[in-house]
Assembly symmetry: C2
């Protein structure tokens, strides 16, 4: 009796593509029904994010970048909570398991698992007649009781973001052939950079320790700066004032703004930034900025937490409020 009769097609798939990613001893080479995650005296931080074909990624996105994005959106959450990656489990819903798709998917996933020190612990592959879906639950470790929350921001804190804002939304607009694509018709490098920011988030894992040490509150930006800041403020029972001109933009986004091709709303309401938004006390800002420099992550102070319960306000260069119609991207 050959092996295919005693083990299912799913088992063969798992063995071929995913076992090499299960480098943690607690994964038991994916040969068991469960994994063991050792807490090592820390709190286990758990986060879960799924991405769906046609909703969170495009059908013709490269398989390796789909894999990386699925893992990285979760790593981004861990970093914003101040946690170090410990491992992840994967649920993969596929129409048909094709080597030409699975091989680059597993390769991309494995490279990022190694890069971020976050090994595969287990998973489930299921058949679906519908769109492809990748669901990842990721685990991190943080000193007991030290997970950084959305709540905790205090009036007087600086509002700080990592990296640049709005690039991923502009990248998606380019892929969809919007005005951003036309406006950057003469600049292939800029288009490619923005598309890359959409396809491949850069989780700020290097900043996790500094966030844990200095932030009163933090979250990662997935649904747009305006909406996510409103959530952080609501959870903290505070409000905020943001200086639109200090929001950090990439050169490509700045060009699009300068040419009038995109408004500030597209920048602050587009999703998929996967930068960290945090509230840092004035006292700690310099130490945080220094830790960020040491970690190689750009951080920018874009406004202040203030007392109150109103929705955070976005001010232009003259101190006038900029009205926003849509604050966050909703998948429904």
């Amino acid at each position: 009796m050959d092996e295919m009769e005693t083990s299912s097609a799913e088992d063969s798939l798992i063995a071929r593509y995913f076992r090499p990613l299960a480098t943690d001893p607690g994964a038991f080479d994916l040969g068991d029904d469960a994994a063991v995650l050792q807490a090592r005296g820390a709190d286990i931080v758990v986060t879960t994010d799924a991405i769906v074909e046609g909703v969170h990624f495009l059908p013709d996105d490269p398989p390796d970048s789909i894999a990386r994005k699925a893992l990285r959106v979760n790593l981004s959450d861990l970093a914003a909570k101040g946690a170090s990656p410990a491992g992840f489990v994967l649920t993969l819903a596929l129409r048909t398991p094709e080597d030409s798709w699975l091989a680059p998917f597993a390769r991309g996933l494995g490279e990022d698992a190694a890069l971020f020190g976050c090994p595969l612990l287990g998973g489930d592959t299921v058949s679906t007649p519908g769109p492809l879906m990748v669901s990842i639950t990721a685990f991190g470790r943080v000193a007991t009781g030290r997970m950084v929350h959305r709540s905790g921001a205090k009036p007087g804190d600086r509002v700080v973001v990592t990296g640049t804002i709005g690039d991923a939304a502009l990248g998606l607009a380019i892929l969809k052939g919007g005005t951003a694509a036309t406006a950057l018709a003469d600049d292939a490098a800029a288009r490619q950079m923005l598309v890359g920011r959409y396809r491949l988030p850069q989780p700020r894992s290097a900043l996790a320790t500094a966030v844990c040490d200095f932030a009163h509150a933090a979250m990662d930006l997935s649904d747009g700066l305006a909406g996510d800041l409103a959530k952080l403020c609501e959870a903290s029972g505070v409000s905020a004032v943001i200086d639109a001109q200090s929001i950090p933009l990439s050169a490509a986004a700045a060009t699009l703004r300068a040419r009038g091709s995109v408004g500030i709303e597209a920048i602050v309401s587009g999703g998929d930034d996967y930068e960290i938004l945090c509230a840092i006390s004035e006292n700690h800002f310099e130490a945080f900025a220094q830790a960020a420099r040491a970690a190689g992550v750009t951080v920018t102070s874009i406004g202040s937490i203030i007392a109150g319960a109103s929705v955070p306000r976005l001010l232009d260069g003259q101190g006038r409020e900029i009205a926003l119609r849509h604050r966050a991207y909703s998948h429904f």
Copy 2:
């Protein structure tokens, strides 16, 4: 500005239906981006299983039973590994979020979370144009280094199963209007019992401690007894001999067997049993059986682990081998 403009539709959904299920303090009322799972000095056992509409459940299955099944298939894994439930995260892929579906789904999930002591820690709801999908990652606690593996079965061990085998596969056959439905046309109660066994697994959580204390190896039966036993034997480097006549059947399944409506293959190769298969040394069997009685779980010795690497054999009443064409259900 009303609430719908500052928080997304997804947030409202989560708040209304799922926050009441997040009874663990580490879930932070689902108001943060991650949860904290405390290991309490134990190993964290992690398992993940997804169910897809049209593949693992039927489109017109009641929403509360879909929710229960999604959680219970994971609880079944934890029990077979000797772990006590600690919590779970949920990924829910929906076409459109409808109250008429979400309300009973969340109610069923909440009732089972309470029943099995396994609170919701977090999750993600995503939109899909395709079939509904429920992916759950569940966590359990087990004393350090004591998770029960697939490997570990030794020649001379008894092969033991909980409950009765084959009911869920017959229940699915009835829902599909197969010969089982015709053969039980006169017995609505039997049909209902079998369908119930398909829709609502009974995780043997009450047996987790006994499995941890006495089993050399264990796994839950999800892909059929024959195929799953082959996996356990392969992982343990052993073989097994099973006495077909001692495989425990429900009265309804026994009737179908007696009427010649189903063969032994349908019993041992059908999936979805969610009973525990384990290997117990002869020395410990009586103590295990006693612990099982105390836990209110029926256990039956159905054969023996033997040395060797051949596929486990199934013998009839005369000791002749019963040939099986398909050992396990594959979703591909």
